[in-house]
């Protein structure tokens, strides 16, 4: 497993806290932060159910938030940024990261169904330059445990207070 330093741990911890926040709100538990020179510049967590927009994954939410607060400047910031995210970004989000040309990404568990960095898709498949440094598989167990909790919450046999009220169709992995 690749190693990370103390600073990385702090930001990845933030990403996981955002994932927990998503879980508490019955969203797929994925959270992320973007960091430039040791400073957080943006954050996001999955908001698919809340917005009814299936593309509102953590990374996309964060980029839109940065677009709203920094305008055009966010593109320069993003080019120098490191993304900390609790799960391997899906194909949509990974491709977005390659297009934005971020510097580095650090993520939790691999995503064998949708992962767009190494698992299913990759820059070459997207016909893009592979110019992002990748640190993968950090705190995988924790990342998977959260996903499991999410699916257990959707389970109709779960205790009532833990059960989600929405129809089962919205529970497929979104990230």
């Amino acid at each position: 497993m690749e190693s990370i330093n103390n600073k990385d741990e702090i930001f990845l911890e933030k990403a996981f806290q955002l994932a927990q926040e998503a879980l508490d709100e019955d969203e797929v538990p994925v959270g992320c932060v973007f960091v430039v020179d040791g400073k957080e510049i943006g954050r996001g967590r999955n908001r698919v159910n809340e917005t009814g927009d299936p593309t509102r994954h953590a990374e996309m939410v964060a980029v839109s938030e940065m677009w709203n607060s920094y305008g055009q400047d966010c593109e320069n910031l993003l080019r120098n940024s490191t993304l900390y995210v609790s799960l391997e970004p899906c194909i949509m989000c990974s491709c977005a990261m390659y297009q934005l040309g971020i510097k580095k990404m650090v993520y939790g568990a691999e995503n064998p169904r949708f992962g767009g960095v190494r698992s299913v898709g990759n820059a070459e498949k997207f016909r893009m330059e592979d110019n992002v440094q990748v640190v993968a598989g950090i705190w995988s167990e924790r990342s998977i445990a959260m996903l499991k909790m999410f699916y257990e919450k959707q389970n109709p046999f779960a205790p009532l207070e833990k059960r989600k009220t929405k129809k089962p169709k919205t529970i497929e992995i979104k990230e």
Binding site: T55, V63, L100, T170
Partner: protein, 287 residues
């Protein structure tokens, strides 16, 4: 959209409908006219065929598509000569003799299309279950006049928005996107964002058709998976597109849990309305 005088739409349609060609982008495994073959051991028998077959075990799972008896009357025994000989000697029958084992060529997979079936059965009698929808895509009969009219209508609507994206459900406009200057403001992303929020399980574009001028990049193609689109129609290939034939094709990726059909809509050039802007050849935002 609806405000436009219907006469005008009909006029545009009529001109486009005669100029479009709609080609499905299918899995090469399906468009391939042949199937792979492998050698197999078969036993030539003069009599007591039924009796011998009754005493044989079923063929392994991966060869269940094969009929037991060939056109020449020989019976499939096993893939390797060694096991075939063992099986024959275990039968301990005067009719089944090791020297009557022959090597035959059989299709190694079950044919998926009628064309593959026609090829496969030349080799060895083979089972086949036609998928009618797929057969229609392969023989072009999917493109009925009504369907062609429908496609040309919405392609025209899409072309009218420069580099647009249009989502349609039950022949009704669902959402429109045009590229924005958001760093990820590609036409598809804008179309999804503009979709009015709906409730319950109905909030995605389930069963919808999406029309695009340019082949979508991996971000947009995957967004359409999340959107649960049913069919995608695009006019031009693009540099960063991931649906065309020469490279990884996202809509054919088996590990993804939702698959949509993809059609390329070719338009015969018309100097009056020239939409083949060569300056644009990527799926991108407005910058």
């Amino acid at each position: 959209m609806q405000e436009e005088p219907p006469q005008k739409i009909r006029k545009i349609n009529r001109s486009l409908v005669t100029r479009i060609e709609v080609v499905p982008i299918l899995d090469p495994k399906l468009t391939c006219e042949t199937v792979a073959s492998t050698s197999f051991q078969a036993l030539q028998l003069k009599s007591k065929k039924k009796l011998i077959i009754g005493r044989l075990k079923d063929l392994p799972e991966s060869f269940q598509h094969l009929k037991r008896v060939g056109k020449d009357g020989s019976i499939l025994i096993s893939q390797t000569e060694e096991t075939a000989k063992e099986i024959i000697s275990d039968l301990n029958s005067a009719e089944a003799r090791i020297e009557n084992l022959i090597t035959v060529q059989v299709p190694s997979i079950k044919p998926s299309t009628r064309r593959q079936f026609e090829f496969a059965k030349q080799l060895w009698p083979t089972g086949f279950h036609p998928n009618h929808e797929l057969e229609q895509l392969l023989d072009d009969s999917f493109l009925t006049p009504t369907f062609k009219e429908y496609i040309s209508h919405w392609v025209q609507e899409t072309l009218d928005i420069d580099n647009g994206c249009v989502a349609v459900q039950n022949n009704t406009l669902l959402s429109i996107g045009r590229p924005s200057n958001h760093p990820l403001g590609h036409p598809v992303m804008e179309m999804v964002k503009n979709l009015p929020k709906r409730t319950g399980s109905d909030y995605l574009g389930t069963g919808s058709d999406v029309f695009l001028v340019y082949e979508p990049c991996a971000m947009c193609s995957m967004a359409l998976v999340h959107f649960r689109v049913r069919r995608l129609f695009y006019v031009h290939d693009s540099k960063n597109g991931v649906l065309k034939e020469d490279g990884w094709q996202l809509h054919l990726e088996p590990s993804i849990n939702h698959h949509y059909e993809v059609f390329r809509v070719k338009i015969t050039e018309d100097p009056e309305t020239n939409h083949s802007s060569n300056s644009y050849d990527s799926c991108k935002n407005s910058k």
